[in-house]
Subunit: 358 residues, 4 copies
């Protein structure tokens, strides 16, 4: 019952297979190899446009390197107050940008809305160089609460931000799950909606360690190779990334993996919604469930071997307050989540309530 | 009618006199001179304790250098959401600390309270190294809304913060005005209330360019000389600072200057409170007035030569909303504000309303 | 004929096998998994001591993160003027340290000697905070010219540097080759000789992407987890590193791989030394050959499919000057270099000279 | 007998007078005042061109801020190996640039020559992003050994550097002395010879604390106001700088001051050259003397109250080696050096040798 995170499983079989194949060759180092070139070509095809793309090992590196191309050290970056980049990546954005300011918006809500942006711009001081000027907007797809921004929503946020001179970053750690959820094309979710740079995460959805920083706005990428090198993120054996990406993209493997993860989340949420004392805090739109439940139940499940994290109450919708004895947890499904795991999880819950009832 | 800021006037006569005297000598460079040593001794006497003190030219340098001694690049600094360090000093704190995170609290309130701190600590994640850990608290005395923290209030904030392992920084750009307002000793307002490092501003209260970074907690100052030098803040002709400070402290000159500024603010506020369409947003406790007034009046005053700034509505108390046609302005008095300036200002207002009434 | 670099081949079969095995499991993320713990234990056994160890993906990350634990931003790091950290890692050391100064020594010599260090300390200014103080010494094993520092040499450099308060870093990108060459224990080459932190490279000798930062002096590692996270070098699927390391260390696999590489270098150098117009610039002590040869020959070899790099004349011994028409090249053997590659290379050379002679 | 440095005296009377005059006014803050504007205009007149200029308090701040506009964090800055920016300003250049590499040239020589630059470019690696690329050249006028670069020499260095894409920075801490020495115009010594940005020091030649960063290439200054603010170098009472500069420039006061300093150096050197056991290491071309003398004499002079510094043997010309019992000292004259000081100094030397002879 591994619902802790979609990073608690390995790579998919097909990804590993491609890696094994790439391993046996001689190639040049530092990404000058045919696996890397193939991966880049495949991404251009996937996104239906020319683009610059760079591979790194972690989401934190991808996000921070991307942001460092968007904002100067004396500028600011707007993001949701629960965004991974501001909550879970230490001060990596400050490190890579040379000290840009991180500005949180939309506390307590599932997604950032045009109103959040408009209020920010209305109130922000413009007495430069004293005040700090926002220069980048980061949107997390799927959102911090497991919600999926529609392409229209992304387009509106982009439009407002761009009117103010900002560039648009998308943290796509679960981009594949968002595509699987909406059924739109990768192009529609990104550059067609105004996204300048996407951090496309494969690690959480079938790769072992693979994040692609995809620049649709190629003007912004000009220093990337320098930034990647000096932060130690240029791998000598670049095939490690190239081969994973080739395997991940081949025959829409990535989409199959994401679709499976989303389906398992749907099954789990259907079953949970049928249970009285369990409530979904947010609608389940991809592969994450945010759930309130009795604390004792959570403890019971963990004793039974279930993996999941208690989540910060901060991120509950404003309409929900935790009752005494309740807790708030996050459940994540992945490409490798099997029906049997979900069934066992539900069984354990049923058992618990039956025992309670006695 | 100069109410724009207490930095729009020069130095007091006595400060300039001391500077002129120091100018004529030969001394060693870089603060190895008797003016600097005298200034340091005088500060020890003033604060009734041993301390480490360093002089720099600006409040931004003082604050950021001080903060860089308190927090590591992967740690955070708590401050009021309207604090000068987060609103008006660009990303200087990030620059000097090497990328610490700035965390704003207490939006829309005149002072930070224990509740703000407690809520922060209750909700802050502690999953290190992913989450960011707060390591310093910055308190602005007088506050961002012109209010004075009592020594008891400072003590309580310090106590809560220190229980969590934070060090305490006081931005004392208007420290002298706070002392003049409360009548307590400098020691009571700082180390006796838990303050580890004070940025004591003289520039706004009688000096030309002089800020003292005063470490009561001498463990925290060990890298200061290195940090000051490599940020270009070590003056070769150190007497510039030393002499100003000697002149500023001599015979309680600093307190006389601050007392005068506060008194002028009191006179002005008394007169303004008598006028129907003008409202004080916050009580006047030192040398700053925050006032709502008709926009047309503000324009009229500025045409008549009055200097002041419109202020951000963000910083109004939650109970006050600007009506249509109104504006929110800040008025600052200084050691050099003369009765005639205040009287002329009030006269202009009276004239305006009389003309209106016709 | 791949002699370009030991990073132009993949991972050894045994390392890949272990990775495949680790891939199929569920584990916690971020290095909280049994593969990582096993790898750490195995390194303690290998080095015969307690230690702190952290895994990262690249040598640049390993070196820079390690150095950032040794020197403050206002201090300096001494290294050989041809060291990888100063020549081939962009300004990564400055980035990670927050701006420490890199100071090159020993230009034109194969190794750093006690005299280089002594001269540096004799001449270095000590007027702080104006002058910069050296706080770390970095030694590259095997050296920039393919030479191996004896344990005695390392001990002497350490001793002199430590007397001046420096910490000792070893860049062990080819540490395994050095051990295979000297036949000493890993402990003798490191902490017993005064090394505080070793960057142990596995990537060049059998892994796909694996560098271990090994702290023998555990006082120095206290911020490492914070530094690794905020630089984006903490992998979510930590097993990628853990499993490679377990496979690499098992049954002295690492030493077998290094021994093979060294043996192939020896064979190649024996054959080359028999050829008149080819000269070894430095003795071959591990798996790198530095060779002067006719430019036309180099071109001929490259046309025939041989991979190698022309090398900077700067790094020639002072006694050797390139004649007109000559070039200076580096040849590197690896764990996967086969006899047939070496033989083909020599054959091509022989053919060239035979054709020349006609 | 103050020959320690030209920063051991105060400001000239005329500069102080102008400061006193400016002190009594009300003005806007942060350089938005007529003194600052007047100073800027006067500099445009002096340099016979349009330019951007910014005032700061220290030479370290001026140099580092200027350099941060020329080189990216992954690029390098070339300078003389004894340059103030690399020897005496801690790691300020790294701090302000965000970690650019400092590269020293021309060790042991009095000036940098075209050959030094050409050799550097010939040998520098260009395998980017691995290698570091030089992007700025810093020239110190007057040089580290008290020599004056001719306008032709500056032009040649600029030309070679610009061919390689570098920008040219001039550290003009003693620029006035250089002008007084050569008799050329400020324009000829700077933009007409290819200089992009000049750090014009007034502090050492009559001001109290005043350095002007003068951009002839206005494209390079676009971020300067942001950089100055976030490093804490934007003064609130900007008149402090503006007034000093107005006073310093008025009626060629600056040139009179520099001319006096140079003349005193000439007198002193003429007298010293007549003494057998004292040797000038470098010709005296401005206001600095570098002299070898018996250690006992140096001690005797210091006991008699003479101020000067022993200097690093590193910076001796290669042709001069210190004999046993000798030392190497620097003597600096200033605008305030009086004949009587020089005479007393020579007298003390004569006395010493007479006593020796007995």
């Amino acid at each position: 019952m591994y619902f802790g995170s979609d990073n608690q499983t390995g790579a998919s079989f097909k990804v590993m297979e491609m890696l094994a194949q790439a391993n046996s060759e001689y190639t040049h180092g530092y990404g000058d190899d045919h696996w890397t070139y193939q991966a880049i070509d495949n991404l251009k095809t996937l996104f239906e446009c020319d683009l610059d793309v760079f591979f790194v090992a972690t989401g934190t590196a991808a996000n921070s390197l991307a942001l460092s191309c968007l904002a100067q050290p004396w500028e600011a970056i707007l993001c949701h107050s629960s965004a991974h980049i501001i909550v879970d990546e230490s001060t990596a954005p400050e490190f890579f940008t040379g000290g840009s300011r991180m500005l949180p918006l939309a506390a307590g809500e599932g997604k950032m809305t045009p109103t959040h942006l408009q209020n920010y711009f209305k109130n922000a001081g413009s007495d430069y160089p004293h005040n700090v000027s926002a220069r980048a907007l980061s949107v997390t797809q799927i959102s911090e609460s497991g919600l999926v921004y529609s392409t229209k929503e992304i387009g509106e946020l982009s439009r407002i931000a761009k009117q103010q001179g900002l560039s648009i970053h998308m943290d796509g750690a679960r981009f594949a799950n968002a595509i699987a959820s909406l059924g739109c094309t990768p192009a529609e979710m990104t550059w067609k909606a105004g996204v300048d740079v996407l951090c496309l995460g494969a690690t959480k959805c079938g790769a072992l360690s693979l994040e692609a920083v995809v620049f649709f706005n190629k003007h912004l990428s000009k220093d990337f190779t320098q930034r990647r090198k000096r932060s130690g993120h240029l791998l000598s054996k670049g095939r490690l990334f190239g081969a994973q990406m080739v395997g991940w993209l081949k025959d829409s493997h990535w989409l199959d993996l994401a679709t499976h993860a989303n389906q398992q989340a749907k099954k789990l949420s259907d079953a949970l919604m049928a249970i009285d004392q369990i409530e979904l805090a947010w609608p389940v739109q991809a592969n994450e469930l945010f759930v309130t439940m009795p604390k004792d139940l959570a403890t019971h499940l963990q004793s039974a071997g279930a993996e999941f994290y208690e989540w910060s109450e901060n991120t509950l919708p404003e309409t929900i307050k935790l009752a005494n004895g309740q807790t708030y947890v996050r459940l994540v499904t992945s490409f490798s989540t099997q029906d049997s795991q979900c069934e066992l999880f539900i069984e354990n819950i049923t058992d618990y309530f039956e025992n309670q009832a006695r």
